[in-house]
């Protein structure tokens, strides 16, 4: 009679079960089922199933629906007080473990807080502009043959002009060219002045706040200048700056507007703006050829545009691509591809050359983010590890709770709350540490200070709290899950028989991961340090000692030189256009005499004193002859590489041969210097030439002989200030400049070293916790062994062996992977680099083992020394 193969729809049943109050559920479902069975016979299966479903839905009434959420939450809420209390008690009872957890989490969290603040600050860059999401800029990718393209934030004026004229769907576009430098004369005062040229649509794209003047007209006329309020106050204190004149390069500029100083979170900062028509006029005057409008002149111009509301960036991109195709001639070996970049992406986007302001770039952000994550991961592992290890003690508590009626969910909640309490406590300490770390981090490099403040709005505190809770939940997840799964009967009957240590492998894995990371950090830090030292002590091929390079700041080299010659400690003075080996380079194209060979030749313009002062070694020929003003340049001094490039033979043979620089200078090789490093160590030595053009000098090289260098330096500075009160004294020792050029290594070393310190501390804390725990739990075993005659040494070996194995495994993973990372990835683009020695690799391992052994050893030693009588008596 009963057709058992037909059942009501499953989902209807599940729905009923879900909503129905448990006390009504059985009867209700029974009635429905009875009715259903009857319906099968009278009305058929389909109708029966349909009716059943309809009935289930009809039963969805206020009186049947359980007050699940509210009721459940209420219990949890009521229980929360209990959870909180037990958690606090448990934390208080295990002071050592809690301290390890809180400390580890706090240290790593402070690093994370720093990162969170930094990310949010970077994300907020440039968002003060109205319609910031519609503003983009044109970027250039320069591609030589089939090489990887180089990305530039800059573009050509031509691209900017064609964008303005031809691309539809753009509300406004503006071209910016940097950078005008001059001495500004206002009345009797002179100020150093530098500003970009921007066109009249500047204020249509950007919403910098124009305080005075007409946004549509301020930058229209040639020789108009818009000052920031700060500059205006400096130039015209207590005066109305509008319509005042500023004399720069014998030309009167009129102030046509005052703009509010760009906010800190603008990637583009300026102290004044000059009308673009000025630039156009000056360029037309200066050069007959139109190089400034050349497609390939893409080094110092920027184009920003604001999209129409209903234009997509893809449409503009398509037009830009066709403009680039149009401009590229087939025989060009170097192609320029136009791209676009959203305004909000500039600070955090891909790394590009020629940024108009500071840009952190996504690479650095990624690295810092990953490092912070690794550190917090390590601390979370500690929590997980120690909690699982200690779960034997908490197991009974869980058993009792379960017997009394706690559900799995409630136990889980309890332990999660405990983890969250720990992490919130850590947050408080971390927040204090954050203020300690902040200045240290910002002082790592001047770029950092220019682009970041690391200040946070109150809302960030909420994010911090959420972060801490998130960390607590994830760190406590595995232990909570594990403890909530315990079966009451098993735990209470015989706790030690439970397979509590089924998680032992997980714990081992976590320890290995922790120590692998720590080791990788130590090795990285020591490699970075070595590379930095290597770069500083590298034999550049000339003598940088006791040379103070002073920037002329536009002053006449000979006048300035005359001032410094009066200081007795200065033994010699030479002139040059560059400070070599510190990063900046300048190149020309040179051709052989017959014009067949050509090559890029890097150069420095110097006077006759430079080569002996710097200790360059002449392989053949002679130094430049003494001339104060070189009217017509006749000779050149080259390096060895150039001889090979132009096939000039041996140094002796090369003397007297001719090289052509540009159309008008055919220069006779007067001397050959030994190869030296004029660039930073990431590049090879290529063709280089010293040209005899002292009038182009921008640097004075002062050779100093003094017992008190600092004192002499102050003397020099004082002499400068007496001579030029407009420009600040900008002089630094050659070695300092070189150090600054390699500061990236130093920054990297500092950051990685610091993180290495943190991860090691955290890992060691974790290891300490595990050591304490092992020693405690195995105390009886140790005592019995001791009674039976085991020596202390053998006991220590017994207890430490397991951990030492883990450390060994960690080393075996960390060494090859870090070596590979540095050898093939991070340092692979360095032409000259320190070898990664066995010492660095070994050093890390030794540090780890010493720390590991000391933490574990101290605990096992304590255990081994314990008096067996005392341990066993209480049995």
């Amino acid at each position: 009679m009963k057709n058992n193969s037909v059942h009501p729809p499953k989902w209807a049943n599940r729905f009923l079960e879900w909503y129905c109050k448990p006390e009504l559920f059985e009867d209700l479902q029974g009635d429905l089922y009875e009715y259903f069975e009857r319906n099968i016979e009278t009305k058929g299966r389909r109708r029966a199933r349909l009716n059943y479903t309809l009935d289930v839905i009809k039963f969805f009434k206020p009186y049947t629906v359980k007050k699940l959420e509210i009721l459940g939450q209420l219990t949890q809420f009521i229980m929360f007080k209990n959870y909180f209390k037990t958690s606090i008690r448990s934390i208080g009872r295990n002071k050592l473990f809690s301290a390890i957890n809180v400390l580890g989490l706090a240290i790593s969290m402070s690093v994370c807080l720093l990162m969170i603040t930094m990310f949010s600050e970077v994300k907020n860059y440039d968002r003060f502009h109205a319609d910031y999401d519609r503003i983009h800029r044109v970027t250039n990718a320069q591609k030589y043959l089939e090489n990887e393209p180089n990305l530039f934030a800059s573009t050509s004026v031509l691209a900017g002009r064609r964008l303005k004229a031809e691309v539809p769907g753009i509300e406004a576009a503006t071209i910016i060219t940097r950078s005008f430098r001059a001495d500004a004369k206002v009345g009797d005062n002179t100020f150093p002045f530098n500003a970009p040229w921007v066109d009249n649509d500047f204020f249509k794209v950007f919403s910098f706040n124009l305080l005075r003047g007409d946004a549509n007209e301020a930058l229209a006329e040639p020789y108009s200048v818009v000052l920031t309020d700060e500059t205006a106050e400096k130039f015209f204190p207590d005066q109305d700056p509008m319509d005042q004149t500023i004399l720069m390069n014998d030309q009167n500029y009129r102030v046509t507007g005052v703009v509010e100083k760009p906010p800190f979170n603008s990637h583009f900062k300026f102290s004044a703006l000059i009308s673009y028509t000025t630039y156009e006029q000056e360029e037309r005057k200066r050069e007959e050829n139109d190089w400034w409008l050349n497609w390939h002149n893409m080094w110092s111009n920027y184009a920003y545009f604001k999209l129409d509301e209903n234009t997509s960036i893809d449409q503009v991109q398509a037009r830009l691509t066709s403009i680039a195709d149009d401009e590229t001639s087939p025989q060009d070996q170097t192609k320029i591809i136009l791209g676009t970049q959203p305004l909000t992406n500039i600070m955090s986007g891909p790394d590009m050359s020629n940024q108009i302001g500071e840009s952190i770039g996504n690479q650095a952000l990624w690295i810092l983010g990953v490092l912070a994550f690794v550190v917090i991961l390590s601390a979370a592992f500690n929590y997980t590890n120690l909690s699982i290890a200690r779960s034997l003690r908490r197991a009974k508590e869980v058993g009792v709770r379960k017997v009394v009626g706690a559900t799995k969910k409630q136990v889980f909640t309890q332990f999660t709350i405990e983890a969250c309490i720990i992490s919130v406590c850590s947050l408080i300490i971390a927040y204090l540490l954050f203020f300690v770390l902040k200045p240290l981090f910002l002082n790592l490099s001047p770029e950092m200070q220019r682009s970041l403040k690391l200040e946070h709005e109150p809302i960030m505190l909420v994010y911090f709290l959420l972060f801490a809770i998130g960390v607590g939940i994830s760190a406590g997840f595995i232990p909570s899950l594990f403890l909530s799964k315990l079966r009451a009967i098993q735990v209470l009957k015989d706790a030690s028989s439970t397979r509590l240590f089924s998680k032992i492998n997980l714990r081992k894995v976590l320890i290995v991961v922790q120590f692998t990371l720590s080791l990788a950090f130590i090795i990285s830090a020591s490699i970075a340090n070595r590379q930095f030292k290597y770069a500083l002590n590298f034999d550049l091929g000339f003598d940088t000692e006791n040379v103070l390079n002073v920037s002329l700041a536009g002053n006449d080299p000979y006048l300035t030189k005359a001032i410094f010659e009066q200081i007795p400690e200065i033994t010699d003075i030479s002139l040059s256009s560059h400070v070599l080996s510190t990063g900046s380079r300048y190149a020309n194209r040179a051709k052989s005499e017959d014009g067949l060979d050509s090559a890029t030749v890097y150069l420095s313009q110097i006077d006759h004193k430079y080569i002996p002062l710097m200790g360059h070694q002449l392989l053949a020929g002679t130094n430049f002859v003494k001339k104060d003003k070189v009217e017509k340049e006749e000779t050149v001094i080259v390096n060895e590489t150039i001889l090979n490039k132009f096939k000039l033979g041996t140094p002796e043979e090369a003397i007297g041969k001719v090289l052509k620089f540009g159309p008008e200078s055919s220069l006779i090789v007067q001397g050959v210097v030994k190869n030296f490093h004029y660039a930073t160590l990431d590049s090879e030595i290529e063709c280089f030439a010293f040209r005899h053009q002292p009038q182009n000098a921008e640097i004075l090289n002062l050779k100093i002989m003094s017992d008190n260098i600092l004192n002499t330096r102050q003397k020099i500075e004082a002499a400068w200030l007496e001579f030029d009160d407009v420009h600040e004294f900008r002089g630094s020792f050659y070695d300092e400049r070189i150090e600054a050029a390699y500061s990236e290594f130093e920054v990297m070393f500092t950051i990685v070293g610091f993180l290495a310190f943190i991860t090691i501390t955290i890992s060691a804390l974790g290891l300490l916790g595990m050591g304490v725990y092992t020693a405690e739990t195995r105390l009886k075993e140790i005592s019995i062994r001791k009674v039976l005659g085991a020596s202390e040494g053998s006991l220590i070996t017994l207890l430490s062996r397991g951990f030492m194995w883990l450390l060994l495994i960690a080393s075996l993973i960390a060494i090859p992977s870090t070596y590979y990372l540095f050898d093939s990835v991070l340092l692979s683009d360095q032409a000259h680099r320190a070898d990664i020695g066995a010492l660095e690799l070994l050093l890390g391992v030794i540090v780890i083992f010493v720390i590991g052994f000391m933490t574990i050893g101290s605990q096992t030693w304590k255990a081994a020394k314990s008096n067996p009588a005392q341990t066993l008596r209480t049995e």
Binding site: E26, D27, Q29, D31, Y33, D55, K58, Y63, T64
Partner: protein, 113 residues
């Protein structure tokens, strides 16, 4: 006073529980009402009424033995409580009083009109 006032359908269910004693349960009550009054009632209305009655304390319920039918679910049997009986009686009394108060003439319908 309010609590004892029975709704029409509730009174019907309560009476049916009485007639089915001691085996009054959801489907049975529904069937009985259908049979006796010809009303088409749904299971959910009956349940709602039972729930209300139980809350008022007019009926009480207990689970029976589990059987193979009904998908192994136990039946929930309802019986009238003393308070329920009192409520029924009160209702009946009220009706009687009203019946008795109707003047005789009302029943003497003049069919010739």
């Amino acid at each position: 006073m309010k609590g004892t006032n029975l709704g029409e359908f509730q009174e019907l269910v309560l009476l049916t529980i009485g007639t089915l004693y001691p085996e009054a349960y959801g489907v049975g009550i529904k069937d009985e009402i259908r049979e006796k009054t010809g009303r088409k009632v749904t299971l959910s209305t009956v349940h709602a009424a039972l729930n209300r009655l139980e809350k008022k304390g007019l009926v009480q319920s207990s689970f029976g033995e589990a059987t193979k039918i009904r998908g192994g679910k136990r039946k929930k049997y309802f019986t009238i409580t003393a308070y329920g009986i009192k409520a029924l009686e009160e209702t009946r009394e009220q009706r009687e009083q009203l019946w008795n108060a109707i003047p005789k003439q009302v029943f003497q319908i003049n069919w010739s009109l």
